[in-house]
């Protein structure tokens, strides 16, 4: 799966769990939490949706690796390979 696909998977999940947020203008290198109204509960949902939809596991100690879109793609891509 390409980086672009992985990026889109994460964006789709964010759009579903935070329907009021606009995901079009996200800066990939900046913290998601700062750009969107996401809290730790929302990050849990991103993790839970990755498991539910794509059978991808993110252990708790790796949650910080989902901080930016860039880091999400870097961390998740091998898991989708």
């Amino acid at each position: 799966m390409t980086a672009k696909n992985v990026r889109q998977i994460v964006l789709d999940i964010i759009a579903d769990i935070a329907p009021d947020e606009s995901v079009d203008s996200i800066d990939d290198s900046k913290s998601l939490r700062e750009q969107l109204d996401l809290d730790s509960m929302d990050f849990l949902d991103i993790v839970m949706e990755l498991r539910k939809r794509h059978k991808v596991e993110v252990p708790q100690e790796d949650y910080p690796k989902l901080a930016t879109l860039e880091s999400c793609v870097a961390y998740l891509s091998p898991k989708f390979a």
């Binding site: 769990i17 009021d20 809290d39 509960m41």
Partner: protein, 458 residues
């Protein structure tokens, strides 16, 4: 039968926890003793009129689209839409003491203006207190106890202002008498004064049917008339529960029965701890008249003394203070009959001891006292009384199975939901969040913490 999770109680916290777990494909069953959902926030019908048991007002009001607030977290976590709740905001509410009255509404400026006018010498101090409340992180799970009265005395000079600010916050959620933990104070201050009140169209039924539908759509199972007789523990780890008919096994059990009630149902826990039952219980009187009352406020926090005494009533009930709710005084409610609800603090042990006859006599006395108060607050009102109903601390006990008929639960809370038994967790009032929004968030956060985050292998 084997489940990932058993949730005890189909109240606000139990349904919310059930939704979160079912949403992420956990096999979950909610067991409810009563024949309908709601727990402390249930509903009933008399003579073709629909009533809510507990709901006066939904706290934590937000406008559509507001972010980062408890209510917006709830919407996101349960994937519900703001419009589903059909919220009608309050007109305004007031705190009425003999010396003066303070009004507040869903716009915090009203309370600020009122304090500036009525307590000018303390206004700057009040603003500093407000800043302190804003900056306080009340959701941190590891803050120690500090007395709200002490904090208020350090910040404000006028004793009357302190009493008036505390009055609604205590009676809308404190399990403790006379005082509350400052972290709870902050939660309540934000919920009531910063955010405010609203009422869903259709009352508590609207919220419950949203939660029920969400839970069932997510694949959750719910059983009514299913009392849990024992929570089963092996080697200090929960393994399931026993009803009067069968045993159900599960990896985790989330109990919204209350902390002392959960301990009572779990012999392995009763050996270790004995959380106290609270003292605070109430009497609720409901009156329906043939027309609306002149009073415009949604809720009047009434106190007929300079100090506010929040404690178990000395003599069956305490008519010195009352919460007076006018459920028709929300924006956008059509004219019709006029309903008033009056809440008094009560004394459970005394009510429990009454003979049937004495019990009915005491209820009549409560009704007369409440009607007098309605007349005092609405001197020109001449409406005809169509219906009245009163429920007592023993009624509350009968339908909620809370020891002492408590409404705000135990004075021993478990903020992280943990008990000395592994995988047995407390949710709802005794986990320490308050009100309907608080209970729902309790169910959500405990399900997240103990049911979703810890169970990658489940």
């Amino acid at each position: 039968m084997n489940y990932d999770a058993i949730v005890i109680g189909a109240g606000m916290s139990g349904l919310a926890a059930g939704i979160r777990l079912a949403m992420f494909d956990k096999k979950v069953v909610v067991l409810e003793k009563h024949s309908i959902p709601g727990g402390l926030n249930s509903y009933y019908q008399r003579k073709n009129r629909q009533f809510d048991v507990g709901l006066h007002a939904l706290t934590n009001f937000i406008k559509k689209g507001e972010k980062g607030k408890p209510f917006s977290k709830l919407l996101k976590q349960l994937r519900l839409s703001y419009d589903d709740f059909k919220l009608h905001p309050q007109t305004f509410s007031k705190i009425q003491f003999p010396e003066t009255t303070l009004k507040f509404s869903n716009e915090f400026e009203l309370l600020e203006t009122e304090v500036r006018e009525k307590f000018p010498q303390d206004f700057e101090n009040f603003l500093r207190l407000v800043e302190k409340v804003k900056d306080f992180n009340e959701l941190s799970l590891d803050i120690g106890y500090s007395s709200s009265r002490e904090v208020l005395k350090k910040n404000l000079n006028d004793e009357l202002l302190i009493e008036m600010i505390l009055c609604p916050l205590l009676i809308y959620g404190s399990a403790w008498e006379e005082d509350m933990d400052f972290a709870q104070f902050v939660i309540m201050f934000k919920s009531l004064y910063f955010e405010g009140f609203s009422r869903p169209e259709g009352g508590v039924r609207t919220i419950l049917s949203l939660l029920m539908k969400k839970f069932e759509d997510a694949g959750g199972e719910i059983r009514f008339r299913t009392p849990v007789q024992e929570i089963l523990v092996e080697n200090n780890e929960v393994v399931g529960i026993r009803t009067d008919k069968e045993e159900l096994r599960a990896k985790i059990v989330l109990s919204s029965m209350g902390y002392p009630e959960t301990v009572k149902a779990t012999p392995a826990l009763a050996e270790k701890i004995s959380p106290r039952s609270g003292h605070m219980t109430f009497l609720e009187s409901i009156f329906v008249f043939d027309k609306k009352l002149p009073e415009q406020s949604t809720i009047t926090f009434y106190n007929n003394a300079s100090t506010y005494s929040y404690r178990r009533a000395q003599n069956f009930f305490d008519p010195t203070s009352a919460v007076v709710c006018y459920p028709d005084n929300y924006e956008g409610i059509q004219e019709g009959e006029g309903t008033v609800r009056i809440t008094y603090m009560a004394n459970y042990p005394q009510w429990k001891e009454l003979s049937r006859e004495a019990y009915l006599g005491m209820k009549t006395k409560v009704g007369e006292s409440a009607l007098d108060l309605i007349k005092k607050l609405n001197p020109t009102f001449n409406g005809e009384l169509l219906f009245q109903d009163i429920f007592s601390p023993t009624t509350i006990e009968k339908y909620t199975w809370h020891q002492n008929g408590t409404v705000y639960g135990s004075t021993d809370k478990t903020r992280d939901g943990k008990t000395p038994v592994k995988n047995l967790f407390i949710i709802g009032t005794d986990q320490g969040f308050l009100g309907i929004v608080g209970s729902i968030l309790s169910g959500i956060s405990m399900a997240n913490l103990h049911g979703l985050m810890q169970s990658g292998d489940a």
